[in-house]
Subunit: 487 residues, 2 copies
């Protein structure tokens, strides 16, 4: 049991990838005869990253993967026994654990907003409680990174965005799951070879400074690289002096390749310094040397604001390699998603539950719910409305709902043309319904939905806040439960 | 090759956990006959997280683990073949890949500083290049989190600090590796059951709001929890109203337990609201009820500044549960570690290499080096000095070295009493030398070394900058290479 005896587990597969309190609660539910009581939990996140106007839902497939394979091994149970917390008959329940829940969620790549329920899980209390930690771990991170990627791609205005984050990711899974989410959010390729293999993401990458430094001269290094990969030769030109030696040496090599009859697009990468100035200087030198349409890739601490600013300056950059800021969502490295108990079944009825907080934004919207998204005539989302599960959602061009915090405040939604339920059934009573989708479908969905979103949710600053509202009946239920707990 | 066909790899084990450009460079080194040229790479990081005065080195054992098992599988090679980038004889080299390098590093838990070389790897160019990505991934993240943990523990002034981060970690490994690093940095326990099992870290956790909400009343929920875990009963008191119902209900349960003769320390957890005010109110109620020494655990978006501020306000909190801010190092979620080529062997000699940058701080200190740490009479580190590998490190009470950026500036180190090389040989010619250490040894080392560090590197603000200096001979080598590349 020291650092070496249990090397490199595959954490994404272990039933112990959870917080201890889930297991102590499960032990208690078992002892109190509550394990099989039906319950409904919901996942939602409380706020968007700063300066984001929308999020891109991601992480569902890895969650379903985990869920499908979730079993407690004998070794897991042996470890739990050493904690002296659990009774043998409870450990026997864990040994026989088999998912039986029903899960509803949006499809990955769907645009989502704070406080809309995003995953609803119904099943035995003991089972659905167990899912909390891993669900939050997978959905929070992948949704965060897909969202960051979408914003970076908006700033890049259609230029290819390459994800280069693995070396700065928070662990191997941070890199792998992050590459997946970044591709869903809109990135074109990744440097992460394992992500390429696992998720069928296009790969990108050529050479590092060390390649150049390992040769007696920069020119010899470039010549050797061009010999090895004549048709995919992007040269990194900033090892010593970008405009004085890097670009001139690259041009000499491109000329030699052209003279030998190779068909290629001359490509360079800039990884440091004043990217606006250097890219313009490099572009000018390449044009003057007769290379009319060079590919100039920039990398080095890029993020959406910097990309937008380089665009504004007319930088001659046409592809963007983004690492640290993307893979860690550096300005906001966690999404505050929560998984809350909404209802328990007693004597055949669903009893709604509420979590009260002195911060009214954190007080939950109680009970089993439906989430309906309303659209305008252009197909742009107008608002998400939460209904009680037993209500018929309304239709009409103008509808009145309630503020979820100030529950007696009416809010009108106008110009409604269409509506649809946001959550689809993906697992029914322990059986998976949703077929796995190829990752390019998820990415296409995200791109389509970002495209359909009004500009006021997509700009870089001063974003409009998307409306997430309550039906009057749900607002009244919330008021009633709040009165009960206050009194 | 879609999202489902290669589910849940164990990313921490795959040889493909790397950037594509490592493999394209390897292909080039192979083709150019440079694969077996001896080379030396060094890892160092460029700057500390904001408001940190030191870092705690971590991640070496996971790196050695990975390194020990690094092999390209047939499936890996098959995937690489599909990229149409690599020649068959190069893939054959990968198939036969076997580490043969020599690695030097500090032991985990050692206090470290920016720009000191921390890992030196010497071996064939093709081999040592390959390690870059995974080394950066593992060392950057674990060192970052061990550092954050050490700062949080300093703010907690000896109170237990519990790591609760898994749900907000960046993927499963983010949680697992982060829990490991947090424990090395000083945390007392984790909520992450898999981390407990894998790394022998004490576990912590009781129940969530959902436990309380699943019962008809808070009192019944507390009574049921106390029945299940009478000797480890920490009650979460903020589901509805902390001081009006939560603490009074907890007190009633503690009285019932006392009346039944249980031996226990009454314990509550506060997870929201005004922690200073609520902890004082809860403490008063518990004292008045005859519980003289309650354990009051606080959680909810805690970090070092907030803990220090709560201490300053006299909050009655004696254990700290820290999640998001710790596991993601929220204020600075990446460490800017780099892995740079320092020297290549040509005709039996080590030729030093330099990476030049317009930002002088990013220009590398060239060549093979030794790192010597000097200590004062109290055993506190005074400075790290980098020497050429073939120099004899100096001794004496007062010594003069050079600024690593302004290389002609002399800097005196006074009061020297002792010195030692910072890097130990941990792998020799492909054979592991360092025995795995139990995690508590790593944690003890960090605690001892943090204890030995002068206060000016440990306060929360306005930290002193630790000196990392060059020997005059190394400074002259750097000047010489800079002149060469300028001319």
């Amino acid at each position: 049991m020291n650092d070496s005896s249990n090397p490199s587990p595959s954490p994404g597969r272990s039933a112990l990838l959870t917080d201890l309190y889930q297991l102590t609660m499960l032990g208690g539910y078992h002892r109190e005869g509550k394990w099989r009581q039906q319950a409904v939990f919901e996942y939602s996140f409380r706020s968007l990253p700063p300066d984001a106007g929308f999020a891109v839902f991601a992480g569902l497939e890895p969650l379903l993967e985990y869920w499908t394979h979730l079993r407690f091994s004998e070794e897991d149970l042996e470890y739990l026994r050493t904690l002296n917390l659990f009774e043998e008959d409870f450990l026997a329940v864990l040994r026989d654990f088999k998912p039986s829940c029903t899960v509803k969620a949006p499809l990955e790549g769907t645009i989502v907003f704070p406080n809309t329920p995003l995953i609803e899980i119904q099943g035995p209390l003991g089972e659905v409680q167990l899912y909390e930690t891993v669900l939050l771990n997978l959905i929070n991170y992948q949704t965060l990174i897909a969202t960051k990627a979408a914003r970076i791609c908006l700033a890049a205005e259609g230029d290819p965005v390459l994800e280069f984050g693995l070396r700065r990711a928070q662990g191997p899974d941070g890199g792998l799951g992050g590459s997946r989410a970044a591709h869903i959010g809109g990135c074109d390729a990744t440097s992460n070879v394992l992500a390429g293999k696992t998720y069928d993401i296009p790969l990108s990458g050529t050479h590092a400074h060390s390649w150049v430094m390992s040769f007696p001269s920069e020119l010899e290094a470039f010549q050797a690289y061009a010999r090895t990969y004549p048709d995919r030769c992007t040269l990194l030109v900033d090892t010593y002096d970008t405009l004085a030696t890097g670009v001139p040496n690259a041009i000499q090599v491109f000329r030699e390749m052209r003279d030998r009859g190779y068909e290629f697009r001359p490509a360079i990468r800039l990884d440091s310094g004043d990217l606006a100035k250097l890219s313009k200087g490099a572009y000018r030198q390449l044009r003057e040397a007769g290379f009319a349409d060079p590919l100039i890739i920039a990398s080095g601490d890029l993020e959406e604001d910097l990309i937008a600013d380089l665009k504004r300056q007319g930088a001659k950059i046409n592809a963007w390699g983004v690492g640290t800021h993307l893979i860690t969502s550096r300005d906001s490295p966690s999404l505050n998603g929560v998984y809350k108990l909404m209802a328990v079944e007693r004597e055949g009825n669903w009893e709604p539950r509420i979590k009260v907080s002195s911060n009214i934004a954190k007080t939950t919207d109680p009970g089993r719910k439906q989430a309906i998204r309303y659209y305008d005539a252009a197909g742009s989302p107008l608002a998400d409305v939460l209904y009680r599960h037993d209500e018929a959602p309304r239709t009409g061009e103008v509808l009145e709902f309630r503020n979820r915090m100030v529950t007696n405040q009416e809010i009108q939604v106008r110009g409604i043309r269409d509506s649809e339920p946001l959550l689809k059934e993906v697992v029914r009573e322990g059986r998976r319904i949703l077929e796995p989708e190829p990752i390019h479908s998820l990415r296409d969905r995200a791109r389509r939905q970002v495209g359909s979103l009004s500009e006021e949710y997509k700009r870089l600053r001063n974003l409009e806040i998307y409306k997430v509202l309550l039906s009057p009946a749900l607002a009244e239920l919330k008021e009633e439960l709040l009165r009960k707990h206050a009194g």
